[in-house]
């Protein structure tokens, strides 16, 4: 019965995703999303990869952007649609149900001013991230910005030790609340640079285990980016 009960509880993890993610990141996720939205200008075309329930998308719409959200979970997209309808902005939010490696199929190059993703890319290893970010590089306009926020393996011995102890202790609570393991990325900054972007700024939280990387695609970098993409392949 206990297992049965836990399973029923865990089954509803997507329902409580918003507050559970807030709890597990100690409210930092909200602040990260606010910071991303701060940099959005009215009229920007924004792509939110792994948009989930659309919390970031709605913030961007508030800033006057047109947002496209991509997610592989239809449940999350339905939630996002409901949230957008409740806010009365569903006409400015386009939602696409597809896998993250199919970006090139939906949009032509240089479509977006801003591409962003929060807590979605950690699940993927380097090879996948290179593939996805190369697609992002193509879809982003020259002068556009890439904003990626995710869990990251902290640098430095002590930070790493504290982080390892932390995730070991929180493994089961995290699973029960979010039905999710921890997926820290190794060298997020390096991966973004390897795809041809120019990293402008990195914000760090929680002993640098949560990072927001802001990177740009400058017009001059265009050809260099292509070379770099071939190099990483």
């Amino acid at each position: 019965m206990l297992m049965y009960g836990w399973m029923v509880f865990v089954e509803f993890a997507p329902e409580r995703y918003d507050w559970a993610a807030k709890l597990m990141t100690g409210g930092r996720l909200e602040r990260i999303k606010d910071r991303i939205a701060e940099g959005i200008a009215p009229g920007d075309a924004v792509l939110d990869i792994g948009c989930g329930t659309g919390t970031l998308a709605l913030r961007c719409i508030d800033r006057g952007a047109r947002v496209t959200g991509l997610d592989s979970s239809e449940f999350m997209l339905r939630k996002a649609r409901e949230n957008a309808e409740r806010a009365g902005v569903s006409h400015r939010l386009e939602l696409v149900h597809d896998s993250v490696t199919q970006l090139g199929k939906h949009w032509v190059p240089e479509t977006f001013d801003v591409i962003t993703s929060t807590m979605a890319l950690g699940e993927f290893p380097r090879e996948f991230l290179d593939f996805i970010l190369r697609d992002c590089f193509r879809l982003l306009r020259s002068g556009g910005r890439l904003l990626i926020a995710d869990e990251v393996w902290p640098e430095g011995f002590w930070a790493l030790l504290v982080y390892r102890i932390g995730i070991t202790l929180l493994w089961i609570p995290q699973f029960l609340l979010l039905r999710r393991a921890f997926f820290p990325i190794r060298d997020l900054r390096g991966i973004i640079q390897a795809a041809g972007f120019e990293v402008n700024q990195v914000w760090k939280w929680a002993a640098s285990s949560l990072q927001l990387v802001s990177a740009g695609k400058s017009a001059a970098l265009n050809s260099a980016g292509e070379t770099s993409a071939v190099f990483t392949a």
Binding site: M1, L2, M3, Y4, W6, M7, V8, E11, P14, S72, S73, E74, F75, D98, S99, V100, T101, Q102, E123, F124, P125, E127, F128, F131, W171, I172, F175, R179, R180, A181, F183, A233
Partner: protein, 427 residues
């Protein structure tokens, strides 16, 4: 040179496939006890042996324990193992929870450039993924066709020897002793962790209680197939009778007081109820709600499939995906699929997920609803099936295996009609 470059992009075989025996033992032990939690390993294409363009490709989720066991099972066979993103969860749960879908399979195929590596377009997939992975969607996007392989990875070597064809036994989900004991151990540990705080205050009582829970889970799961099928609580009663008897003998031997005896009997019965509810809701072979067991006393599912012959396009995907052989094909004059053993259904909704013509209806109108991977599930399983009453004639119909799928044994209607009655009589 090309091949060499690709080699670089292949991830090292996730968890080390060349573990020494001691390390492997502790690895298995740890993951056995923590089976309920997610442990992701690296995604991507793993080369096993020296595979070529025609070598088979096997699909797996990225649950560490499964990938580790697969790598051991496939050792010595030249093949590819495509590890797709199941968020570190086992394929069966991930598929039902919408965490292992065709999107994840498409991602893995695309990023690993499988289409350039192999010439064929066939991937052997675990049938446990059928509740979440839509075969048609994968084919449409990538051109790869998913073939359901054996249910258990232990059958893989035989499946490969058998020219990548599965026997009917391989398609049937089972719950062998090892799996049962693993589940008992993992569940007992989860209990111990939940009530473990009590050890600080009442070490003896809570310690004994944890011991009793472990013993009862080992007893009920270990002897699982030896007890009769649950109908009107008879399985529960039999277990309770045996255990209470054993406890009475033990209590008499140790000279228990009546009060002690009463308390331990209550605890034993309480734990046994918990075990029974765990067994009806979270084993690989049964799935029903706790209320159903408490009120009806059996483990049968709420969902009871029936196929509409007018909608069925005879693609056989439900027959191939079903882990309990609920469906069978009709291979006489009329072709199609019928539901022959709906009472065996364990409500994984693999059939509904794979059926694009929405031909599968629900005879009970009720369902447990823990499967989240089918969009619009509620609308599909609550449709009226009044026009399909006649399809009940197939329930219990004898079946034979033809070309590795179950088919209904039926008289050759077409010939009987073509042959006039009196002629038939004179033969």
């Amino acid at each position: 040179m090309n091949a060499g470059r690709r080699q670089n992009t292949t991830p090292s075989a996730g968890p080390d496939s060349r573990m020494c025996h001691v390390k492997r033992f502790f690895h298995e032990l740890f993951h056995t006890f923590f089976r309920y939690y997610n442990f992701p390993c690296a995604l991507g294409l793993i080369r096993i042996g020296n595979p070529g363009e025609e070598s088979p490709v096997f699909l797996s989720g990225n649950y560490t324990l499964t990938v580790q066991r697969l790598l051991r099972k496939l050792r010595g066979i030249d093949c590819y193992l495509l590890v797709a993103n199941s968020r570190g969860c086992n394929v069966w749960c991930a598929a039902g929870m919408n965490e292992f879908s065709d999107c994840d399979v498409v991602d893995a195929i695309t990023v690993s450039r499988l289409a350039e590596i192999v010439r064929h377009r066939r991937i052997v997939a675990p049938p446990c993924a059928a509740p979440g992975v839509d075969v048609e969607a994968v084919k449409r996007v990538t051109g790869f066709h998913l073939h359901w392989g054996p249910m258990s990875l232990n059958d893989l070597p035989e499946f490969i020897r058998n020219d990548l064809k599965r026997t009917p036994e391989m398609a049937q989900i089972r719950f062998p002793l090892r799996d049962r004991l693993e589940q008992a151990a993992a569940t007992a540990l989860a209990y111990a962790m939940t009530i473990g705080v009590g050890l600080i205050f009442w070490p003896v009582v809570v310690g004994k209680l944890i011991g009793l829970i472990a013993v009862l889970y080992a007893f009920a799961f270990g002897l699982f197939p030896w007890f009769p099928e649950e109908r009107h609580w008879r399985r529960f009663m039999l277990q309770a009778g045996i255990l209470l008897g054993a406890q009475a003998v033990f209590g008499y031997w140790r000279g228990w007081h009546a009060g002690d005896f009463g308390v331990w009997c209550g605890l034993l019965l309480g734990i046994l109820v918990l075990v029974a509810i765990d067994q009806c809701g979270s084993t690989p072979i049964y799935k029903t709600g706790a209320t159903h067991w408490l009120t009806k006393g059996d483990y049968r599912s709420l969902f009871s499939p029936v196929v509409d012959p007018a909608l069925c396009i005879n693609c056989m995907q439900c027959v191939l995906a079903c882990p309990q052989r609920v469906f069978a094909g009709r291979r006489g004059a009329e072709r199609g699929v019928v539901s022959v053993r709906p009472e065996r259904c364990e409500e994984c909704f693999a059939c509904i997920k794979q059926c694009h013509s929405r031909a599968i209806f629900n005879r009970s109108g009720r369902y447990k609803g823990d499967v989240k991977s089918v969009p619009g599930l509620q609308a599909i399983v609550t449709r009226s099936w009044a026009h399909l009453r006649r399809e009940d004639r197939w329930i219990g119909a004898p079946t034979v295996i033809r070309g590795s799928v179950p088919c209904v044994v039926e008289p050759r209607v077409s010939e009987a009609v073509a042959c006039p009655m009196h002629t038939a009589g004179s033969l």
